[in-house]
């Protein structure tokens, strides 16, 4: 391997790492606020890519049906809860949030089908289509068991992933898609040819990490999300509703996943079930960050991307094996350093 190949592989690795960063941060965000390891999270990215591809060919994305089904289910669940608590006065609000808002982009896409839309409009529409999926799933599946153990929540999330894969196959079909590149520009950086697409991925990833940081550090809503993650009872006692911060976390994370879906769609062929592997690799990054640290998660995700890129050159057959094999030393190191801190605390 010469320097040039190494540089190309590094570029590739960082680009896919940047995608895992976005998904990994979303995973950590959802886990911190709701204690749910949201296994179907990669699916959100894949569904965005599939919706975008479908809009490109002038079709009606399967997301429309998926969102409609979920919105009706969530509204039914919420309405039942309101009736049971004799809080019917909150019904109009519930209808707005669980039925009308999710269905607005779906309706827009439904009526726009067949017409050719500009690229930015297509991207915005696909993102808007996908955004409600995770919050709706949260309302239907997780909120009724919000106080359950992390293990139970994880088990439910795994089951949810299988259900969602099935729905994905039903609504999107088995074909793989690839969207048009977002940009055709090619740069020549010190003799190395760099795709505009790669740079776009990097720029988007860095920009969204920065925005997330600003949100957490400088806005009251962002701080409320952190507060919920640190202490749920404490949050309730100052009037922060964990259900609301949970919804915000799901929305924000879905936006990150959606962006990564838009970015990855032109470089990789995406199937209805491609999301699982995306999510799993991002999860390796999140594990490196111990599901709590955003910066370490980002670093871990880039590491996963690089490892994947280099192993695909040397040992392409073992690419996935090595990436997931990385979990073992990381978990060992984590468990060792973890027991270390526990001892320190015991000594205090």
């Amino acid at each position: 391997m010469n320097g040039e190949i190494a540089a190309i592989l590094a570029m590739d690795g960082i680009a896919s790492g940047a995608i895992y960063v976005l998904i990994g941060l979303g995973l950590v965000l959802i886990f911190a606020v709701t204690r749910v390891i949201f296994v179907p999270f990669g699916d959100i990215a894949a569904f965005t890519a599939l919706s975008l591809a479908s809009l490109e060919t002038g079709g009606r994305p399967g997301t429309v049906g998926l969102v409609a089904v979920l919105a009706i289910l969530a509204t039914a669940v919420e309405a039942t809860a309101l009736v049971r608590n004799r809080a019917l006065h909150r019904l109009p609000r519930a209808l707005l949030f669980y039925l009308v808002l999710p269905l607005v982009p779906a309706a827009a896409v439904w009526f726009a089908a067949g017409t050719t839309l500009s690229m930015p409009l297509r991207i915005v529409l696909s993102l808007a289509l996908v955004l409600p999926i995770a919050p709706l799933l949260d309302r239907i599946v997780f909120r009724p068991i919000a106080d359950a153990s992390v293990l139970l929540l994880l088990t439910v999330a795994v089951a949810l992933h299988f259900a969602l894969s099935g729905l994905g196959l039903m609504f999107f079909g088995p074909e793989g898609v690839r969207t048009k590149p977002l940009t055709d520009t090619v740069f020549d950086v010190a003799g190395l040819i760099v795709n505009g697409q790669t740079l776009l991925i990097l720029a988007a990833s860095i920009a969204f990490c920065g925005l997330l940081f600003l949100y957490f550090e400088f806005t009251i809503q962002g701080k409320a999300l952190r507060a919920t993650a640190v202490n749920r009872i404490g949050a309730r006692l100052v009037g922060i509703r964990p259900t609301s911060t949970g919804t915000i976390a799901y929305l924000l994370a879905s936006l990150l996943a959606g962006i990564s879906g838009v970015l990855i769609a032109p470089v990789t062929t995406i199937f209805y079930d491609s999301g699982f592997l995306l999510g799993l690799k991002a999860f390796v990054g999140a594990i490196i960050g111990a599901m709590v640290s955003y910066p370490v998660t980002a670093l871990g995700a880039v590491m996963v991307g690089l490892l994947e890129s280099y192993t695909s050159f040397w040992l392409s057959a073992y690419k996935e094996v090595l990436v997931f094999g990385l979990l073992i030393p990381v978990l060992l190191w984590r468990s060792l350093s973890f027991s270390g801190t526990e001892e320190e605390e015991a000594e205090e």
Binding site: I220, K223, V230, R236, V238, I240
Partner: protein, 264 residues
């Protein structure tokens, strides 16, 4: 009309009734204390009142049936709890903790700024440590932060669970001085304490809770002289030499008493 009215409330963990048929009332501007031994159900009662535990019976705050309000809606109406466990945001700075205390008033930024200045004025210690993480504070500072965070809500009724627990005597005195001074802000207080003497010295009215039931109640000054209360909670007879934990004198309406020390 009572600000908080608790009427025949029962709180059960599965089948064990930790609080049985308790009734009490707090008038606006009043400081009311509930004293009693460990495990009497004091914390359980507060948990039910704030909406963290399920309960049976009738409770209303400011005339609103509490069944209709969840925890967050209570906070929005100025009904707060500072729990025994404080429940601070350990990873966040002191100033962020206070800022989030005002979460329910987040649209009133001018009012929040004013409240923040007030809290820093009341607790200069918190002002000095405003950029420190809450988890690095000492026990007394934590209690002050918990109180300060609750004041950011602009409370009308503040429920304090064991505010003196685990604090050094000098800090305990400080905490009770602050509680008494909250009266000037027009804040009503429901104070739950094992430090019965300090609590009764601060309060207007008192209830004694034993094994989930109210066994005595009355004006705080009367309770302090009630032999049944003094025997169990105020260190028996008026002989000196007991460990001094509480404040020597409180200038509250609980009436002057200065002879002996403190129980426990």
């Amino acid at each position: 009309m009572a600000l908080l009215s608790i009427d025949q409330v029962t709180v059960a963990y599965d089948k064990v009734e930790a609080v049985r048929g308790v009734s009490l009332a707090i008038e606006p501007g009043q400081i009311v204390t509930v004293i009693g031994p460990n495990g009497a159900g004091k914390t359980t009662l507060l948990g039910a009142a704030i909406g963290l535990l399920p309960w049976r019976g009738r409770m209303s705050f400011d005339g609103i049936d509490l069944r209709r309000l969840d925890v967050e809606a209570r906070i929005e109406r100025g009904f707060c709890l500072v729990p025994e466990t404080r429940e601070l945001f350990g990873d966040l700075s002191v100033s962020d903790n206070l800022l989030l205390g005002g979460y329910s008033r987040r649209r009133d930024s001018a009012g929040l700024k004013q409240s923040l200045t007030d809290v820093y004025g009341r607790f200069p210690r918190l002002s000095e440590r405003r950029d420190q993480k809450a988890s690095t504070l000492s026990g007394g500072e934590r209690q002050m932060l918990a109180l300060g965070r609750a004041l950011m809500v602009k409370p009308r009724l503040l429920m304090l669970d064991e505010p003196s627990l685990g604090l050094a005597p000098i800090i305990v005195r400080e905490v009770f001085r602050i509680i008494a001074s909250l009266r000037e802000l027009g804040v009503s207080i429901l104070l739950v304490e094992q430090n019965a003497r300090a609590a009764l010295e601060t309060a207007d009215f008192g209830y004694v809770l034993e094994t989930g039931e109210i066994v005595h109640s009355g004006a705080a000054s009367a309770l302090m002289h009630d032999p049944r209360v003094t025997a169990s909670y105020l260190g028996g007879h008026h002989d000196a030499g007991l460990e001094a934990r509480g404040p020597k004198r409180m200038s509250g309406p609980g009436g002057p008493r200065s002879e002996e020390g403190e129980l426990r």
